[in-house]
Symmetry: C2
Subunit: 218 residues, 2 copies
């Protein structure tokens, strides 16, 4: 993919903005803070985006867009519900472990957008949640002993995964693939007791999972 100098610079600005929003919240970040951190003049910033709100929108929209797109790609030609669930968990965790600042911004600033921008991101998020719920439903249909409510289970799964930005260190000794295995085991064992859980043999693709596709410098 040919990436223009303009897009590279925009990504650098978005990545930096995400880090600052995560550190000190969207509301208490000014365009001046972003200008200082990126070394791009205020006038320069406004060449890339119309407002601070548009920066937040682009971060959130990119995140949900990318994680959903990667998931849909990986689910092609997979039929077994339990395998789908494993792929879903592994995709979500590996994506957000590589984008922890963005994850915090998605979680903490979900209500900071207004109007159309909010509606657009909410639709993306709903589509992602619906896909997760559909996978869980398929798993549940294989299960004889259905004891846990599907809605509670869906949000519990998002909760256990999304909480990682509070404690998990992607550079620590527990790799994200192992983390995904533990959480899959924990969730599936409770959600679908008795379903056979063979050791996972995934073919992890070595790839750049950062939401931002390019190098560190604009």
């Amino acid at each position: 993919m040919q990436v223009s100098r303009h897009d590279q610079k925009l990504e650098f600005i978005l990545r930096t903005a995400a880090r600052i929003f995560a550190e000190k919240s969207y509301h208490s970040t000014s365009m001046r803070d972003i200008s200082r951190a990126t070394n791009v003049s205020l006038a320069g910033l406004y060449h890339y985006c119309r407002s601070k709100e548009e920066l937040l929108f682009l971060i959130q929209d990119n995140c949900f867009g990318r994680v959903l797109e990667r998931l849909e790609q990986q689910l092609q030609q997979v039929d077994a519900p339990v395998v789908k669930l494993r792929i879903f968990i592994e995709n979500h965790l590996s994506f957000f472990a590589a984008n922890m600042a963005e994850m915090k911004v998605l979680s903490h600033e979900a209500e900071s957008l207004r109007g159309d921008l909010h509606a657009h991101v909410s639709t993306r998020k709903d589509n992602y949640t619906k896909l997760a719920r559909k996978i869980l439903q398929e798993v549940q249909e294989l299960t004889e002993n259905r004891v846990v409510d599907l809605t509670v289970a869906t949000y519990a799964l998002f909760g256990m995964m999304n909480w990682i930005y509070n404690w998990y260190d992607p550079q620590g000794k527990l790799g994200v693939h192992e983390l995904a295995q533990h959480l899959t085991q924990l969730f599936l064992g409770g959600f679908s007791p008795g379903l056979l859980l063979e050791p996972v043999t995934t073919t992890m693709r070595i790839e750049n999972l950062s939401i931002w596709t390019h190098g560190l410098n604009g």
Copy 2:
């Protein structure tokens, strides 16, 4: 307990501040906003607390203090690890379902305090987390098939419980006691596969679970 008019007023201020912090974040809330919402003059507010930071501290400190104190009371004379775990989950969920704004403030503003105030709240939180971990460890020791890492499991449990402020409506059709049962089942089934899960017969105490002990008006 005899509660002074001063304490009642302070609680009213803290409760209102928690709601505003939850709505628009600590950083973008001013003492003037709190003055407006409480109908207490700025000078009046400073009679009850030295700073906005002290308000945040009192909210966080009260929350961790109260939830831990209630848990310790309920755990007295309980020996069975699985019962302890059930009590822990039920206590945490019922407490925070009654204090959703405070829960959001604990989660989103964990890093907003500095220095001694931050250290004090962190110690409280650590004590609470350690107690949770100890209960999980006791449960795990009963389990033959120990497949899930204790640290991952502890944070996964906090994640699935704390995420409720994003989706759960305490006034909706799913009662908090039912929610606790679903999450206990989900967690225990995965964490300790094979442990017998009898239907729970708790003796729920009817009580005021709001962190604030008094009426709605200062």
